[in-house]
Symmetry: C2
Subunit: 160 residues, 2 copies
DNA sequence: ACTGAAAGGTCTAAATG
DNA sequence: CATTTAGACCTTTCAGT
């Protein structure tokens, strides 16, 4: 686990919510030089704490109205890697995890509509060798979605 | 559903993978003026297609080693809204959806470790009035995670 | 809708404390 | 580890096509 001082914490808090926020503005607020902001961000990247900045695209606005989590059951556990390879080829799948519990693999799919989702599942996912079956959890509504809590690294003291 | 011409598509493709890419560089590649890039991005924001740029924080590197999807069953369906209010108060919950299927609500949690996850579930989630029970799908590994496909808006022709 | 130009602001590297 | 400086680069606005 890394160490994050007050400056790191504040920089993280700010840029994860607005990646285009000018470094000089962050510097002003923290009363440090803008070059230091830059240095710290470079180090955070080197350490793997942050990666790239991404513009968040609203899926609905580009035509994906059906969001669904899907649990995948395998015929036998040893098919797992092969199945993941197959899933990777389906662009509508945004995320893919190995999980504990009822399913071996858990994915997140964005489809145009429910029909499109069914088509992806029947014509693509179910055709992958090793897939025994799927259960879909279609999202009617996303109540909230937010950045992961930074409580773990934020101290109450200003310097530590 | 919006219309996206070649310029919109290319801008989206680029900035969603690197939100800090200079507009002037995008302009050069598309052989348009940087003011136009600027204008288009403003319009994409106005239309709600993109929102803010975010630096993606690697959860593991800030101490969250346990990622888990959790399905929530309700005592009665009418508790749903109240339960969501309760869930919103738990900072480790990153995402919360109403879903079809076995569960009423589906959430994504980041915890320090499995013990911490158990604590959140037992001491917080299960205490919310209306929650009948939960099933956890702990992520052993995330095989891939990527931006949603832009196929829906990308045409093969250069101008349309 | 799109461009070009100009003013103002921002970034980054090197040198310094 | 933090800051300053200075030139290069970028963004923003607006008048013009």
């Amino acid at each position: 686990m890394h160490h994050f001082d007050y400056i790191d914490q504040q920089i993280l808090l700010q840029i994860r919510e607005d990646a285009r926020k000018p470094f000089s503005q962050i510097a002003d607020e923290l009363k440090i030089s803008n070059s230091l902001v830059h240095q710290r961000i470079r180090k955070l990247k080197q350490r793997g704490v942050i990666d790239q900045a991404e513009f968040i695209v609203n899926e609905k606005q580009i035509g994906f109205r059906t969001k669904s989590y899907v649990g995948i059951k395998l015929r036998e556990a040893r098919y797992a890697e092969k199945v993941v390879e197959g899933l990777k080829e389906i662009p509508e799948i945004q995320e893919c995890n190995y999980v504990s519990g009822n399913y071996a693999i858990f994915i997140l799919i964005f489809a145009y509509d429910n029909q499109h989702l069914r088509k992806i599942l029947y014509e693509q996912v179910h055709q992958i060798d090793g897939v025994a079956g799927t259960d879909s959890f279609i999202c009617f509504d996303t109540n909230f979605k937010r950045p992961v809590s930074l409580d773990a690294i934020v101290k109450t003291k200003k310097y530590d």
